[in-house]
């Protein structure tokens, strides 16, 4: 009844893709995140889209989200531009490195004549580590630090005096190591190219707890990197045939519309509850990934036990 998209040999219903985009949009609006960390596992687990194509669709739709976020933040003027510029170079290199790594993983590890696919285990492990790290930092964060903090308190990464140092006047941080910021950009770009996430979910804890940014400025910073990173990642993935524009656009259209609904819901919940809910969502995503791996292992085991019995029946 509904038109379908051919995504890497998998037929994906446009309605299902739109519904998934709507769900991710509500979550993104509710918690003020991009939702890439949720989109890629959902595309793979729910719609069975191959992981490289799920990553490609995620980074492509991210261009739209990043662009509208950039326009909104520009109006508010709460971004630390120097931090963004320092991250840019590293982010571009990191994005290409991430996309290349994904391509290498997709070819698999050669073992004699057979090759073992590595994409799924490696990506699932990376996702799980990242999501658990963020969930734990949310659960352990003191309410005062997470909700009220409006002044800069130099964190461990800002106190590390190595290489050239730079002042970040808007956020009030002084003598921050430029090299560390560039490497943060590299790491962020790598995550974007490999996992198809915007990196906000990883960047926010690094900025707030690592550098000691005031929350107001942490929210506005990194958007420029998001635009350049998502554009670079999209180009890298298009060249590898990983981007299905139809899938990316159906996700983007619905997620951007439903994000407004999520944003409205968020104003009705207290920040403490929101933080716990978000941590629960992250841990649930890890649970889904573990279940998917377990399910696949069971499937392989069943196949392995069925094959010898079929062979003996054939004799």
């Amino acid at each position: 009844m509904f038109p379908t998209l051919d995504v890497g040999g998998v037929h994906v219903s446009l309605f299902a893709a739109a519904a998934l985009g709507a769900g991710v949009g509500i979550v993104a609006g509710l918690f003020g995140v991009g939702g890439g960390f949720l989109l890629v596992p959902a595309l793979h687990v729910v719609l069975r889209v191959p992981l490289p194509l799920a990553v490609g669709a995620s980074v492509c739709q991210m261009i739209g989200t990043a662009f509208s976020t950039f326009l909104r933040q520009r109006k508010q003027g709460q971004a630390e531009i120097r931090f963004d510029v320092l991250m840019l170079g590293g982010a571009m290199v990191g994005t290409e490195a991430g996309a290349r790594t994904l391509s290498w993983l997709d070819h698999g590890l050669r073992w004699g004549k057979s090759s073992v696919p590595l994409t799924k285990p490696v990506l699932y492990v990376c996702y799980s580590i990242l999501l658990i790290f963020v969930a734990m930092s949310l659960i352990r964060a003191k309410p005062r630090v997470a909700d009220v903090l409006d002044q800069a308190h130099p964190g461990p990464m800002a106190r590390w005096k190595v290489g050239p140092l730079i002042d970040l006047p808007r956020s009030g941080l002084k003598q921050v190591p430029a090299l560390v910021i560039a490497y943060v950009g590299l790491g962020l770009g790598f995550l974007s190219g490999l996992l198809g996430i915007g990196g906000g979910v990883a960047l926010m804890p690094v900025m707030i707890y690592g550098f000691g940014f005031p929350i107001r400025y942490a929210a506005g910073t990194g958007v420029m990197v998001l635009i350049v990173g998502s554009a670079t990642a999209t180009l890298s993935h298009v060249l590898r045939g990983n981007v299905n524009l139809g899938l990316a656009m159906s996700l983007l259209l619905c997620s951007s519309l439903f994000a407004q609904l999520g944003a409205r819901l968020s104003s009705r919940l207290p920040p403490r509850i929101m933080r716990k809910l978000f941590a629960f969502l992250l841990l649930s995503t890890v649970g889904v990934l573990v279940y998917d791996i377990w399910n696949q292992a069971q499937h392989h085991r069943t196949q392995a036990t069925e094959q010898p019995s079929k062979a003996s029946a054939g004799k």
Partner: protein, 51 residues
């Protein structure tokens, strides 16, 4: 399709949608705040005074 054109479309179309959604939602927000302000202004002042 020409791969270069496809790559360009993959970059341009989401960005155009991003710009359009920003424009659309800013208009909606502006209309909503205008309406809220109008409702506030329309409320009649108290008529029963007590000294």
């Amino acid at each position: 399709m020409n791969p270069v054109l496809y790559a360009l479309l993959c970059l341009i179309i989401p960005a155009v949608w991003g710009f359009f959604s920003y424009w659309l939602f800013s208009k909606i927000d502006a209309a909503r705040s205008r309406k809220a302000k109008q409702n506030q202004d329309d409320q009649s002042p108290p008529i029963d005074y007590e000294i």
